[in-house]
Amino acid sequence: MAGLATTFGSGAMTNSNNDLLGANCIFSIGSNTTETHPVIGFNIKKATRSGAKLIIANPRHIELVRYADIWLQHTPGSDVALLMAMMKIILKEGLHDNSFIMQRCENFKPFKQSLDDFDLTTAETITGVPLGQIVEAARMYAQNGPSAILYAMGITQHSHGTDNVIAIANLAMLTGNIGKPGSGVNPLRGQNNVQGACDMGSLPNVCSGYQKISEPSIKQKFNVAWGINLPTEEGLSITEMIDSILQGRIKALYLIGENPILSDPDAGHVRKALSTIEFFVAQDIFINESVELAHVVLPGTSFAEKDGTFTNTERRVQRVRKAIDPIGYSRPDWLITCQIAQRMGAKGFDFEQPSQIMDEIAKVTPSYGGISYKRLDKGGLQWPCPDLKHPGTSILHTQQFTRGKGRFMPLRYKPPAELPDKDYPMMLTTGRNLFQFHTGTMSRKVAGLNSFKGEEEVEIHPKDAERLFLNNGDKVKVISRRGEITARIKISEASSPGVIFMTFHFAESPTNILTNPALDPISKIPELKVCSVKISKI
């Protein structure tokens, strides 16, 4: 979420789940909300029933298109061009919020300059959306405030994902749609506790609460709190770790609760790294494609067998409570890590209860400073919650931005790292399905969910199917520069011609063998949403 950190000073969702009900216009881009965040999907539909306008920008015909006033079916990877065109129109027609820009923001001139250099007919060509529709969407968003923007992985999983996010932030600032009810920039986090894992500092450059390791005062603070000498050199991101393992520099890996072979791009590469590393310890609740390569496997418990907290997409910290005893001899993850640490002679890992861990988190993390289990027993709290009296924060940036002034950033459209060509003529875009989850570790263990979607399907437009002589249910090979997989065809008008769609829930058809590990230079997020492929019948 580097884009929002640059422009606003905080990468989190600015408003709240229920706040959407107060929006007069909802602009959803790169999110298939009813499939990936179903209960927020309910709120969007509810808002439209009470008169809110809905703009959907998505390359596919998703369920929410049925409820939308405008559907912009833009080419995968053309988001920046689409958003720049909307902003140019808003400025041209004088629909921007001048006083907000003057009082609350900075760096407007260079940003405006970057729009001057951008031409609307090019936008039409790049996005494949008729200019008239873009104009209509721009007016609808700007004139029906408060307007809320929602986005998800369809925006971030690109080699220029940070630019996409910055473009969204610019659009919200331009129209003053920040810091008030019903407005905001709302990234929907995929997994249940992505927000919390980031907040807690499971990141290579920050400790809990986004406290930068590179800052001497922060380093000093943790040196004192933990009684150690904090390493100053920034760490590696997952994708960099994998390269580093293959280069022989990283020799040991401690993997908890993930399956990078299915979730990361260029799966063949990841598998090779995990099979050649010197020492690999995995901690999980099931054996999966990655765990089975480990030297030592430690059984963790599921959420139902431990106490703790999750932080949801709207920054709400809520209790997880132990409902049943650990299955078999499994142990809570925090306890396992503490036991390893203690065996390595470390101090500061002698916790008896997760509530004590939360007390330490509150002590060293300003945004969690007022959070305790005692308070959480009365209901969740949204951070920032700096002290015990603070009620939590449902809307960010109300008086000023976290970084002070909102910073406009000039933009230039860059195409995806890999575009269709003679050898790989089609675009593959990936996403999720309502009935399965992520790499399927949990959801594929549920028989009922499998009866809805039990195997991968390649969604292909009827025109392409006809051209390739394919019928519904035919088995095909999907081939990219990195590998190939087999799956069945599902003919559907959901995608546009030339674009196929797959999920990544299924180990038998590991879609991420195909995807491109090209990284966004700032967020280090790989380009999972667009790559070039060809299809052949088997």
């Binding site: 209960v39 919390g196 990141l203 997952i238 990283i250 030592v296 430690l298 939360m358 989850f437 549920v446």
Partner: protein, 344 residues
């Protein structure tokens, strides 16, 4: 805030403007029987059980659709009201199976509650025998039309709460029933299996499969997506046997999707769960003790310098798990090589 005063059964109460008579009665602890009202749905006035007498009104209005006005005088328990309610319930139970003792909803059935309140002890109308087909197509719940009382809570839920509109009332009069577009089985419809309708069915028409009554409940947070719905897990004999949306959380206000409602117990209690530490010996993973596993991990990790080690934490684990892991990486292993799959 200005309040309105009204009188219910000779008791004076104060409510906010816009309150319905039903809400006013409920807030003051006065029971009015109803089968179609639901706090999350718009007033419907369909079952007509909540009729009351209001001074100055000639017909008996339904309490759920009548908005309180200043100095209203309401009587919920007159002879006329009772007689009318009785004839409503007689019609409903005329074609209700009444196999209560063996019914899955026994003691959790709102029709039983209403019948008991009205003192129903026998059928007044002749039984209308009709056997309707049961829709068993959905893996998580059954639709048994024989129990359906046509209160329309489910169809209104699928419209007002989920916006899916998978089910509606088809046909008219005696042949009315709840069905999908084209009268197809649920599995072939656009139904998303969220179970919001099941959660609101007052009788045993829409019921979850494999659901038994829990002996205790505990509130926790869904482990699937970032919405963060809170839920109550029902526990019986050390196992999760039911899941309900928790109304106390602002993240979901009681609502859940299919994964949260029906996708928990099967994975938590799956036979393939890892139950014991494993150690690779001559290239196969074999079971070992915690003692040995932890010692090996501690010993091996100690042998590397910080920049030779990487840690991948998890967006599925709790905040406390993640805090401990990053503290471990930074303070014990001596590396900032820690990440999780947020990026993905």
């Amino acid at each position: 805030m200005n309040y309105l005063r009204l009188n219910i059964n000779s008791r004076e109460i104060k409510v906010k403007p816009g309150t319905t008579v039903l809400q006013a009665a409920q807030a003051s602890g006065t029971y009015i029987p109803t089968l179609c009202a639901d706090p999350d749905l718009k007033p419907h006035g369909g079952c007509r059980l909540c009729i009351v007498e209001v001074k100055g009104m000639r017909n008996m209005p339904t309490a759920c659709t009548t908005i309180v006005s200043e100095d209203m005088v309401v009587n919920t328990e007159t002879e006329a009201v009772h007689k009318e309610r009785r004839s409503v319930i007689d019609l409903i139970i005329a074609d209700h199976p009444m196999d209560c003792l063996t019914c899955i909803k026994n003691q959790r059935c709102e029709l039983q509650d209403v019948a008991a309140y009205l003192g129903i002890t026998e059928r007044n109308l002749p039984r209308t025998i009709k056997q309707k087909p049961i829709d068993d197509s959905n893996p998580f719940f059954t639709f048994n039309h024989n129990y359906c009382i046509l209160c329309q809570r489910c169809t209104r839920t699928c419209d007002e709460i989920t916006g899916v509109n998978a089910i509606e009332i088809i046909n008219r009069g005696y042949n009315s029933k709840v069905s999908t577009f084209g009268d197809k089985p649920l599995m072939e419809s656009i139904c998303k299996s969220c179970g919001e309708c099941v959660a609101r069915c007052p009788v045993a028409a829409l019921v979850a499969k494999n659901s038994i009554m829990p002996t205790s409940k505990i509130e926790t947070t869904c482990p699937y997506c970032g919405v963060g719905c809170m839920m109550e897990l029902g526990i019986r004999n050390g196992k999760i046997v039911s899941v309900e949306g928790s109304r106390s959380s602002q993240a979901n206000n009681g609502r859940l999707c299919v994964k949260g409602r029906y996708g928990i117990a099967d994975f938590v209690q799956h036979p393939e769960r890892l139950v014991q530490p494993l150690l690779r010996k001559s290239n196969t993973l074999i079971e070992t003790s915690w003692e040995e596993a932890l010692n090996i991990v501690a010993q091996k990790l100690s042998a590397y310098s910080g920049d030779q080690i990487a840690v991948i934490a998890s967006a599925k684990c709790t905040n406390e798990d993640n805090y401990i892991v990053q503290k471990f990486a930074r303070s014990v292993l001596g590396t900032n090589n820690i990440d999780h799959c947020a990026r993905l």
